[in-house]
């Protein structure tokens, strides 16, 4: 029996795409296996680690817990589509410089969570940053340099 595929149309990084995925596929499966959009990572497939975080209609969600069917007609953004964004670019630069990037596997998810935080709170306190990032597990840095990077970017952007 060949797994049944379903055609979905959604907006990915600003472009309309049509994609055939196995019925009931998660957005993570669709992105990686069907679209080869690979910045969203499978770290746990349980929604805990945060490495698969993407934006759905501008809000961060777990791609591994989101069904592709649910994204029908909605807008999905992955890191591939955010590299040109000024706020993201500032965050990225601070992450590069602060030492907030080690193995990099969690980094995309961290940045997407941070990007959304800065949208709602342009000058967050360190505690606010830690709370906003508490759904993104990093096993390398101990978080300190990541918080430094987000606060540094916020400060630069607010000037």
């Amino acid at each position: 029996m060949m797994a049944k595929k379903v055609l979905h149309s959604l907006t990915l990084n600003g472009e309309e795409v049509e994609v055939a995925s196995v019925a009931g596929a998660t957005l993570l499966e669709t992105l990686r296996e069907d679209l080869r959009v690979l910045s969203s990572k499978r770290g746990c497939n349980q929604g805990v680690c945060g490495a698969c975080t993407v934006l759905l209609d501008g809000k961060p969600v777990r791609a591994c817990l989101t069904l592709t069917a649910r994204c029908e007609g909605h807008a999905v953004q992955t890191m591939e589509g955010m590299n040109g964004d000024h706020v993201m670019a500032t965050l990225q630069r601070h992450m590069v410089e602060s030492g907030g990037v080690q193995c990099g596997f969690c980094t995309g998810g961290v940045l997407i969570s941070a990007r959304e935080l800065l949208e709602s709170d342009p000058s967050p306190s360190r505690e606010t940053v830690k709370t906003a990032l508490s759904g993104n597990i990093c096993r390398c840095t101990g978080y300190r340099t990541i918080v430094d990077a987000v606060c540094g970017a916020a400060e630069e952007l607010s000037q």
Binding site: K4, V61, L65
Partner: protein, 281 residues
């Protein structure tokens, strides 16, 4: 492989559930999809409740009561300014679920339907004397939160029924709060405590989470404690009754013994926090 349906009305959803034997209703997905990814559940069909406008939004009725649509996401509840005073406890509980990203996904209806004894909403809703609105093949009905949990993960929700809303009595201006003991930020509770003071400050309502199949609530004990909140022996007698009601599990979050030990400590500590708040206010 799971077929997904996106009905746009409650009736359509209920009909789809009745039509497909192995179908499950899907709300935010934060728990159900995680379970499916781990092959713990393998539904043939998922009936997504995401596109049903009736299940969304928080509204106030004429009497000031609050109705929270089942598909209201945790972040919306956590940010809802209507949840003041006696309902503050629910808002606080919502803000402590998992983490910011999962709070964008998970819904109150989904959490209540899943009935995880360690999840945060049930004790808070018990403390608020919430009522569930339910729709099913036999029509609509309401059910008190106190009659909802029947056993471990077993609820009074019948096959084919979905929760459509959670209604709360109008908030009164009293202190209420939610506290949970968890291993790390965002974990399920090892034990939790939802508490609200009575308007006159003489009594309390308290529900303990994660120490039995459902929230522990001792309304008779609360009545007996009225007027004696500053009497340590009365409080201690009250917490002993809660401990006697408890039936905690031993699991990776803590032993049953630890949970029993936490119940009186949580109640005493949260009570002192609320009374201090009241005095300061």
């Amino acid at each position: 492989m799971t077929e997904v349906f996106n009905p746009e009305t409650v009736e359509e959803a209920v009909a789809l559930l009745a039509q497909h034997g192995e179908a499950m209703p899907l709300s935010g997905g934060a728990t159900l999809i995680a379970m499916r990814n781990a092959a713990l559940v393998e539904p043939s069909h998922l009936i997504s409740l995401d596109r049903i406008p009736d299940l969304r939004g928080i509204s106030r009725d004429d009497g000031g009561g609050i109705r929270i649509g089942a598909m209201t996401r945790h972040f919306e509840t956590a940010a809802c300014v209507e949840l003041t005073g006696s309902l503050q406890v629910l808002r606080r509980a919502a803000g402590m679920i998992a983490n910011r990203v999962v709070r964008n996904m998970g819904t109150m209806g989904g959490s209540v339907a899943n009935a995880d004894p360690a999840a945060d909403y049930l004790p808070a809703l018990s403390c608020c004397d919430a009522v569930l609105e339910i729709a099913g093949p036999d029509g609509r009905r309401t059910l008190s939160i106190h009659d909802y949990i029947e056993d471990w993960y077993e609820t009074a929700l019948e096959e084919g029924e979905i929760i459509t809303a959670i209604t709360l009595p109008a908030p009164v201006e009293v202190s209420s709060t939610y506290r949970k003991i968890a291993r790390v930020s965002g974990d399920y509770a090892t034990a939790s405590c939802a508490m609200a003071l009575d308007p006159d400050g003489q009594g309390l309502r308290v529900a303990i989470g994660a120490c039995g199949p459902g929230p522990l609530r001792d309304r008779a004990g609360e009545k007996a404690l009225r007027g004696k909140l500053d009497d340590p022996s009365a409080v201690s007698e009250f917490t002993s009754r809660l401990v006697a009601l408890a039936d905690p599990v031993d699991d990776v979050r803590g032993s049953a013994e630890y949970r029993l030990r936490l119940i009186p400590r949580l109640v005493t500590s949260v009570l002192s926090e609320l009374t201090t708040q009241k005095e300061m206010a």
